[in-house]
């Protein structure tokens, strides 16, 4: 599955990294502790978080995540958006809470690590 399909499922807004919406997704991860994400998430995972801080992009780039979903209508900081564009990390915004997002993704066959 590629990121574009998730965008359609969630009807998410793509606020950065549009060039990479054809990234493949290997699985999903949800956490708001970035230290934990760095140690547990795997390459090409799609990550669901409530963080809006620019460090989420650095973590995503470091691991090679396919995309980051910011849930619950949280608005990212402007540095986060510009960094995600520079690093070519798709940044998806949704009004859905984390639990709903995970449920929808799981229903589409995306499982945890």
């Amino acid at each position: 599955m590629v990121v574009q399909e998730i965008i359609d499922v969630l009807q998410a807004e793509v606020i950065a990294g549009r060039a990479k919406v054809d990234n493949d997704i290997s699985g999903g991860y949800a956490s708001d502790l970035l230290s934990n994400v760095m140690s547990q998430a795997k390459a090409n995972n799609i990550w669901i978080t409530m963080h809006s801080h620019q460090n989420i992009v650095a973590v995503a780039a470091l691991i090679g995540l396919s995309a980051v979903i910011i849930a619950s209508d949280v608005q990212p900081d402007k540095e986060t958006i510009s960094k995600a564009d520079a690093e070519e990390i798709p940044l998806l915004l949704t009004t859905l809470p984390v639990f709903e997002v995970v449920g929808l993704l799981y229903g589409k066959g995306i499982t945890g690590v």
Partner: protein, 248 residues
């Protein structure tokens, strides 16, 4: 003349809902004086209503109170902010009040938030919920504190909760910190190995006391400085002008 000052830069008073009522400003000053603790920063969660009482209680003693606060940023990162003067902290307090959640404290679940005077007399209960994040992010907090002449120290970066390194993975490039603090669970030497994210920042340690037992048994630092003031502490953290800090 440079001489040693024993310091604890992270102490909660009974204003913090999680602190014991024995942590009155007067009692903290008294125990500091009796135990050779020369510099104490009063750092309650997102508030500073008991600092004036501590400054007053310390008058005529050998204890210096540094005005401070433990701020919780939007990212749920805890940051110790310290100022030279109470009037700087009061300006900072206005910024904090503008970025509060608007929720009220639930005493039964979190504990009461007492404001007292220098003689331990009850003044009032602070109603706002202090044990929660402000709406201002880490970078904005650090920039604002710096503009007001204060310094920021990342609290207990070795702990799993509310630590800059746990929450954000590493120290963002746009954040100006004077130091990082490790809790009593980790020695500074261990910290540099376990948390490479600390980089070249100075490592300090404090008691993070919520009880008098914590305050007396918790880790302290010794600053080799000319006077117990923030500008001297800043030089010691940077290792400037023969000033230094020795972490126990």
């Amino acid at each position: 003349m440079i001489r040693p000052f024993v310091a604890d830069l992270h102490v909660h008073s009974l204003l913090s809902p999680c602190a014991e009522v024995e942590m009155t400003p007067r009692n903290i000053v008294r125990h500091a004086a009796e135990n050779g603790i020369d510099i104490v920063a009063i750092t309650d969660h997102n508030a500073c209503d008991n600092v004036t009482a501590a400054l007053e209680a310390a008058k005529g003693t050998n204890v210096t109170i540094l005005p401070g606060m433990e701020v919780e940023t939007k990212e749920e990162v805890h940051i110790i902010v310290l100022f030279e003067k109470m009037r700087q902290l009061k300006v900072w307090e206005q910024f904090v009040n503008q970025h509060m959640s608007g929720r009220l404290n639930d005493e039964k679940r979190f504990g009461a938030q007492f404001v007292v005077d220098a003689k331990d007399e009850f003044i009032r209960i602070k109603p706002e919920m202090l044990l929660t994040s402000l709406s201002s992010g880490l970078a904005e907090v650090c920039t604002k504190v710096s503009e007001l002449g204060g310094i920021c120290i990342a609290s207990h970066v070795d702990r799993p909760a509310n630590s800059l390194i746990a929450q954000l993975g590493f120290i963002p490039p746009d954040v100006e910190l004077a130091a990082v603090e490790v809790s009593r669970l980790t020695s500074p030497r261990e910290a540099t190995i376990r948390f490479p994210a600390i980089g070249k920042l100075p490592i300090v340690t404090s008691s993070d006391a919520h009880t008098m037992g914590d305050f007396l048994s918790g880790p302290k630092m010794v600053f080799y400085i000319e006077a117990p003031i923030l500008s001297e502490i800043q030089q010691a953290l940077k290792g400037q002008n023969l000033r230094k800090v020795v972490v126990q």
